[in-house]
Each structure stands twice: as C-alpha cells, then as structure tokens.
Amino acid sequence: MSPNTLEAENLHLWRGERHVLRGVGFCLPAGQCLKLTGANGAGKTSLLRTLAGLMYPEEGRVRFRGADVREDLRGFQGSLAYLGHEPPLKADLTARENLRYWIGTRRRVSDALLGASLARVGAEDLSERLVRTLSAGQRRRVALAGLSLCAVPLWLLDEPATNLDTEGQGLVGSLIAEQLARGGLAVAAVHHELPGLAAQHHLELAA
C-alpha cells in the first residue's frame, strides 16, 4: 500500500462568475498537517470540499496515495473524514445515538469504543443527552469524538475549533497530533491560531 500522501495539482474552481481557486497546488506527505488560512470568502471551504470530492474543479486534480481520486471516488471518500462548519448531528438523537448512526454507516463500532471516544473529548457525561439540549461547544466536542472514531487516514476539517473554549482548542490540537502520529494526514482551515497545532505546511488563500 502506497504511503498516505495527498496532492493537489493546479486546482481551478469557479463558483458562478467568481474564480475561487486559482491554481492551488500542494503536496502533503504522511504524518503532516496542512493549515489553510485566508479571509472570509477566500475559498477555504471550497478547497476542502474539492479535496473531499464534493465539488468538481474545472481544472486540476487531487491525488491520494498517488492515484487520482476520481478513479475511485467512493473508496477515497471512505478513507477520509470531513467536518464542516456545522457538526453533523441530529437534534433529536442523543450524543451516543448520533455517533452510532453516523459512524455506523462507515464502520461497525462497539459501545465500548463509543464511550471511550466521548471520554477522550470530555463529553462522557453528555452521551445520553439529546443533542438539542447541548450547547454549540458541546456539540462540537461530540462531532470531534465522531471524527476520531472514523479511523481514517485523511482528515479534512473546516474551522474545527469553532465555539470551543481554550481547553477545547487544545483538544483539537492534540487530536490532530495523535492523527499525525498514527501516520495520518490532516488539512485544517483555521481562522485564528490553534494552540497546540503543529502544522508543518501553511497555505494562505487570497480572496
């Protein structure tokens, strides 16, 4: 199996008349993190969604483990975890149920593992609470628990520390560090500096 690498080559993306991504390219080897920065509307979310295969670039390619992701898009998407602006949680399910139904469509996970992941993010006492009763920060923590449960080599994160306090931001940093230590990759779009995030690469997008 080829080592985990993510490459973007000359990505051009138009949204309507706006030329959002103008020849974006990078090469991210295993165990490293790419930090994306830029003003609002610079294209951070668009780039993440293009890397995830949700958006289709007019030009350019994305390569994972050396192979063009378009060749086996479903397989590629099974190897990545994408976290957007909003945590993907159903308000009428408990935190634990949410994780079971969300991660359960990708991997069969045991209850013990669910509990462990919630504990890791400091949300074990939230596990039986309905998500609609949780604050934005608490939902974010539950989403981060799901992220680690995915057990995938590539993480694509859009502002992962939104709504989190300082301790929470440190949590994000350490989760990413653990992912990198396992030989995984992470691309994180951040607005502010993330304490504890050691990003080896930095890409600044201009609006």
């Binding site: 138009w14 949204r15 309507g16 008349e17 289709y56």
Partner: protein
C-alpha cells in the same frame, strides 16, 4: 480527428461564432419551406371530404406537436451530455431549447383546440394527444421553473439536466397511460383529432411544414444559444473581443 471537432463544440467562443455563421443557412430555407407549405396546404390542397376546410389547421398543429416532442428530446439529450461529460455549452443548448419547446407545445394545444371547436362544439376535449401535450407543457414549465428557482447557474444546469432525463424517460410512460385511459372510456371517433387520410397533394405541404419547422427550430435555437452564451460568459475576456470585432 473527430475528437478535435467534438472538443471544439465544447468551447463557447467557437460555438458562438459557429452559431452566428449557421443561423442564416437555417433561417432562410425555413422561411421558404414554411411559406411554400402554407401555400400548398392552405390554398392548393383540396378540402377534406369529411372535415371540409377545417382540417387545414393540421398544417400548423401536427408540426407543432411533433416539434414539441422533438425539442424535449433534444433538450434531454444535450442536458445529459452536459451532465455526464460536464460540457457547459451543452447545458446552454438545453436552456435555450426549453422556451422554444414550450412555445411549440402551446401552439399545438391552441391549434388543437381551434381544430376541435368546429368538430366537437367545444374548445376542449380530453383527447389523448391533447392531454399528452398538456402534460408535456407542464414538464416544460417544471423544467423552466426549476432553472429559475436555483440561483447558481451551474447547479441549475445540473439539477434541471437530471429533471430533463427523468422527464424524457417518463414521457413514453405518461403517453401510454394517457392513451390507455382514454381508450377505456371509448369516445366516438369523431371526438378525436383524427388525421384525415392523406392524398399526396395534402401530404407534401405537411412534410414541407415539418421540415420548415425543424429548420426554424434550429435557427431560433442558435439565436437563443448565442444569447445564453452571452449571459453565461459575461465576465470572460474572449467575449469582449468577439463583440468588439
């Protein structure tokens, strides 16, 4: 070599220029054929032994109905091409087709209704063909409504392409079910828009009208296509150069 031609068809500047050059080649023959067909059908052809002079509206009704279906199919095919191979010009073609097809459908309905009046005594009967045309009109309106409802052009293109393909698959199903429904409630044949048996003097003008309408569609499509390309490529530099020339 063929591939190059296909690729160039995907390029908006090329298509824009090509459309401009081709339009007169379609428009003039269309005008001639339609005039000749109208002359032949309205003046020269003998009156039908059963329907008298009333049948003459077939010279507008039948080509309109035929075109309404043909345009929908063309729209669906170009939408599918745009969807599968991601060719933006194909989506522009589909967008340009829709109002033309809807107009043909409306014309077919109006002429069908006018044809029916002297025969049935009313302006409307649930004749299977008229009913199918009416459903087709709603399919067109749905397509245009979906396009209008989505602001992002690219998403509008792709969503309406899915709708057009689903619609074109459904058209035979709808047509079959409407015909079957109508046959259950056997109306006397005088209630149907029956084509009178065609002598050559009647048939030739009809074929000329059909050919004329097809070329007319082609010409109008090219004009609308250029307008679509203009709207879509507003920001692109090649357009400013082309217009300056």
């Amino acid at each position: 070599m063929n591939f190059v031609w296909f690729h160039r068809l995907g390029s908006p500047p090329y298509v824009y220029a090509l459309a401009q050059r081709l339009t007169p080649w379609l428009a003039w023959p269309a005008a001639l054929l339609i005039l000749a067909g109208l002359w032949g059908g309205l003046v020269l052809a003998p009156p039908d032994y059963q329907q008298g002079d009333g049948f003459r509206i077939i010279y507008v009704h039948a080509p309109s109905a035929w075109m309404s279906l043909m345009v929908y199919t063309s729209m669906a095919v170009s939408a599918a091409v745009g969807l599968i191979w991601r060719i933006k010009v194909a989506h522009a073609v589909a967008a340009a087709c829709a109002p033309i097809g809807a107009s043909f459908t409306l014309a077919a309905l109006v002429t069908g209704s006018l044809w029916g009046q002297p025969m049935w005594g009313t302006y409307w009967q649930w004749d299977p063909r008229l009913t199918s045309e009416l459903v087709l009109l709603f399919l067109y309106l749905g397509y245009m409504g979906l396009r209008a409802g989505i602001e992002d052009t690219q998403r509008a293109d792709r969503a309406s392409a899915v709708l057009a393909v689903v619609g074109v698959v459904n058209v035979p199903v709808i047509h079959y079910s409407v015909t079957w429904w109508n046959s259950l409630h056997q109306a006397p044949s005088v209630m149907r828009l029956a084509k009178p048996s065609m002598a050559p003097a009647m048939l030739v003008p009809l074929l000329m009208m059909l050919a004329g309408f097809t070329l007319f569609f082609g010409a109008v499509l090219l004009v609308r296509l250029r307008a679509e390309i203009l709207a879509r490529e507003r920001a692109n530099p090649w357009l400013k150069e082309a217009l300056a020339r």
